[in-house]
Every structure is written in structure tokens, then in C-alpha cells.
Amino acid sequence: MTTLVKSTSRSSVLPIVAALVLGFGIITVAGHVQAAALHDAAHDVRHATGFPCH
């Protein structure tokens, strides 16, 4: 039983980390990267979502 629980935990670390990396990656690109094209495209949403914009 203990082994089973442990193996479940180990196998779930990677998917959780992967989801977190993907989530934070999306927030960084959509909300924070200052490249002009991205900034202009996301401008209104960045302001409305409270990200530091300019």
C-alpha cells in the first residue's frame, strides 16, 4: 500500500510541474514580454488584467 501511494505521488510530480511551467509560460508571454508586436496585440487585456504594461 505504501509503495502504491509513493509511486502514485512520484508519477504525478512531472505532470503537475509541466502544467505549472506551461501556465506560467503563457502568463509571461501573453502578459509580460515587451516585444512590440506582442505588447500591441495584448495591450488592452494587459491593462484590464492589471499587468504592468508600458
Partner: protein
């Protein structure tokens, strides 16, 4: 498991993002467009004559507003991935999530990503005076991290040390202080900036609460399907 997280997050994040876009168009965009008239110099605050508070605003712009819908959905899918990953972490510790509990998780997400940064650095209307964007971004991320960990300690800590540390972490970024501009040269009237900040936060709260409930619901049903299978 990654597929379960991804499925729940995509459904919940996309629905929440669309709702955010609709609420933004109705409640935030008119204020933003009004501010841009001052940012661009079409209207001048404290000029010689009083300025009408109800100028004609630009209407619907398919390209600009279409991109807003896209990025709104994208950002809330990003938030949903983080939220559902946290739910998966909780499930590992036998904490079960459903739509009702998800609502609370969503509100915690709002506090972490919107309200805590806004406490010292309110949502900026276009044209507002602000410190260097890089410094503000570092402060924004640090505040999000400190608040997220702090809330986790408050919610799941089991003794006063954990609760005290959580409380201290939540306060720390504000005692440290957010980067503010050296001079106040923003051309936008305070009435517009204040309405913008409260509207942005209000929309954030509604959308995060719904995002949390949806994420909890989809996460629970993904897990139930597996249990039945």
C-alpha cells in the same frame, strides 16, 4: 494525469476568458478608450476650459477587439493551468475539490494574481505615470509568489508558525514597497483612473470566481470518469 489537468484547464480557462472579454468590453474598454483620448492629447485635463465627461469614443474595432478576446482566453487558460495544477497537488494530499471549493480557490487566485499586486500598484490606465516597466514586473512577480505561498500557508498550515509566516509573506511586498514614478505627470483625470482600477479589479474577481468553480467542476468530473472506468 497531465491530460486531465490540461483538459480541465482548457475548458475552464477558455470559458472564463470569453466571459472576461465580454465583461471587459462592457465595463473596462469604454474607460480605457476614454483615457486614451487624454493619453494621445485629444483631450487635455486642466486645460483652459472644462472638458466634457462624455466624449464620443471610438467604436468596435474588429482587429483590436478580436486580439483582446484571443489574449483574454489565452491568459485565463494560463491561470487555469496553474490553478488546476495546484488542485492536483492538493488531491495528492487527499484534499478533494468540487465546484463549491473551486469557487474559494478561484477567489484565492484573484487575491494572488490581481488584488495583491493592485494593493500597492493599482491597475494602470493608459497614460498613467509609472516607474520602469522591468522593475514593476519584478515586483509584480515577487508579490504574486509571496501572496500565493502565503495564502497556501494560511489555508493548509496547521500551526501558528505557518499562519504567522503566511501572513508575513502576504504583507512583505507592500512593506517593501512597489516601484513608483519619481514624478507625477500622468495626463489622465483621476476620476477615470479610479473607475478603471475598480472596474478592472471587479471584473477580475467575477471571472476568477467563475474560473475556480469551473476548474473545480471539470477537475472533479475528469477524476470521476477515471474512477468509474
Amino acid at each position: 494525469m497531465f491530460q486531465k489537468i490540461l483538459t480541465s484547464a482548457l475548458f475552464a480557462g477558455f470559458c472564463a476568458g470569453l466571459l472576461a472579454a465580454v465583461l471587459q468590453f462592457v465595463f473596462v474598454q469604454p474607460v480605457l478608450l476614454h483615457a486614451e483620448l487624454y493619453e494621445g492629447g485629444d483631450l487635455v485635463h486642466f486645460g483652459a476650459d472644462p472638458v466634457t465627461a462624455h466624449p464620443e469614443l471610438p467604436g468596435f474595432d474588429a482587429m483590436r477587439d478580436g486580439l483582446s478576446v484571443l489574449f483574454s482566453a489565452l491568459i485565463y487558460v494560463g491561470y487555469a493551468l496553474i490553478l488546476v495544477a495546484a488542485m492536483a497537488m492538493a488531491a495528492e494530499r487527499d484534499i478533494q475539490i468540487d465546484a463549491r471549493k473551486g469557487l474559494l480557490w478561484g477567489i484565492a487566485g484573484f487575491v494572488t494574481f490581481h488584488f495583491a499586486p493592485a494593493f500597492s500598484m493599482p491597475p494602470e490606465v493608459p497614460g498613467v505615470a509609472a516607474a520602469d516597466v522591468g522593475l514593476r514586473q519584478i515586483w509584480w512577480w515577487s508579490t504574486v509568489a509571496a501572496t500565493g505561498i502565503g495564502l497556501m500557508l494560511l489555508a493548509f498550515g496547521s500551526n501558528w508558525v505557518a499562519w504567522g509566516a503566511g501572513f508575513a509573506l502576504i504583507l512583505a511586498p507592500h512593506i517593501w514597497g512597489a516601484p513608483h514614478p519619481d514624478t507625477l505627470i500622468g495626463p489622465v483625470p483621476p476620476e477615470i483612473a479610479a473607475l478603471f482600477a475598480s472596474r478592472a479589479l471587479g471584473v477580475g474577481l467575477i471571472v476568477w470566481a467563475i474560473l475556480g468553480a469551473l476548474a473545480g467542476y471539470f477537475w472533479q468530473s475528469e477524476n470521476q470518469e477515471e474512477a468509474i472506468a
